[in-house]
Symmetry: C2
Subunit: 143 residues, 2 copies
DNA sequence: TTCCGTGCAAACAATTTGCAATAGA
DNA sequence: TCTATTGCAAATTGTTTGCACGGAA
């Protein structure tokens, strides 16, 4: 699975006239390896296990490239740095503002809201770009 | 209205053992004066019309104070700096990622979603902290 | 052989902080 | 008076950029 995603991303870069470098391969493998949402710093840790010589700026440039090609996205989950994931993992994120826990939700949970908002305002909600903040079950109970 | 909100905020500070300074009064008046969501820089412009000597750091410290007292909030609306508003203006924001337009929605639009998520996960969605991104009616049509 | 991609270090934007001076209560 | 608040400048954090070199195609 991670392998397929890696190859698909590399193919997209190639199809766009971009070059496949060992740096890019290491970065994309590191991003495809988990189903989580690493920050650039966290991604760098993984990349450096493969190739310690990859520069941070290169990682920034590569995730930006992936986003421009529509195969990568960044999400803001609370304060702090952006978090990155590949596009075949689109879903919503519930982030607890007390303990920081992250709960993934299928993208469709927003469908009723989307329909209502589209009907009344014409606005098409996309919203994977931001997470939904709130309080998780554990933190709600501890009061 | 802006006057009342200003007095209420000042009272909350006083009730908490804080001191009322001319800087804080100017900052809160500037924030209460509109129903919009200024960044700290934009807020500073308004503050400086009242008192040009207020330091930026003081504005940062004051909005942080308001937030700690529960009478002010910041929202992330797309990239760029946080935007601030007083707590009696709680609502959701739809932000168009194409043209940047901001549409305010009553907070209750999220109620059905809140109920569904609470029922299935126990997570209590708060969510005024982030805006909902997407594409506004105009930008959707232009394709 | 061409350019694209990369390293490096400096630039940047938004925000925070330490500390001495100042001013509310 | 006593301590919270402020100014100032420096430090931080996350990210971007200019430019010369090196490596894919």
């Amino acid at each position: 699975m991670p392998f397929e995603r890696t190859e698909r991303a590399l193919a997209a870069i190639r199809a766009n006239g971009g070059r496949i470098t060992s740096d890019r391969r290491a970065i994309i493998e590191a991003l495809a390896e988990g189903s989580d949402h690493p920050t650039v710093e966290e991604l760098a840790e993984r990349v450096w296990k493969r190739n310690p010589d990859v520069n941070l700026a290169t990682i920034y440039r590569t995730v930006e490239l992936l986003e421009n090609l529509g195969i990568g996205f960044h999400v803001h989950m609370g304060h702090g740095p952006s978090r990155w994931h590949l596009s075949d993992e689109v879903h919503q994120h519930l982030v607890c503002s007390v303990c920081g826990a992250v709960i993934d939700m299928p993208d469709e949970v927003l469908d009723p809201l989307r329909e209502q908002i589209a009907a009344t305002t014409g606005f098409v909600v996309d919203a994977h770009h931001f997470s939904l903040t709130g309080t998780c079950a554990d933190c709600s109970n501890v009061t």
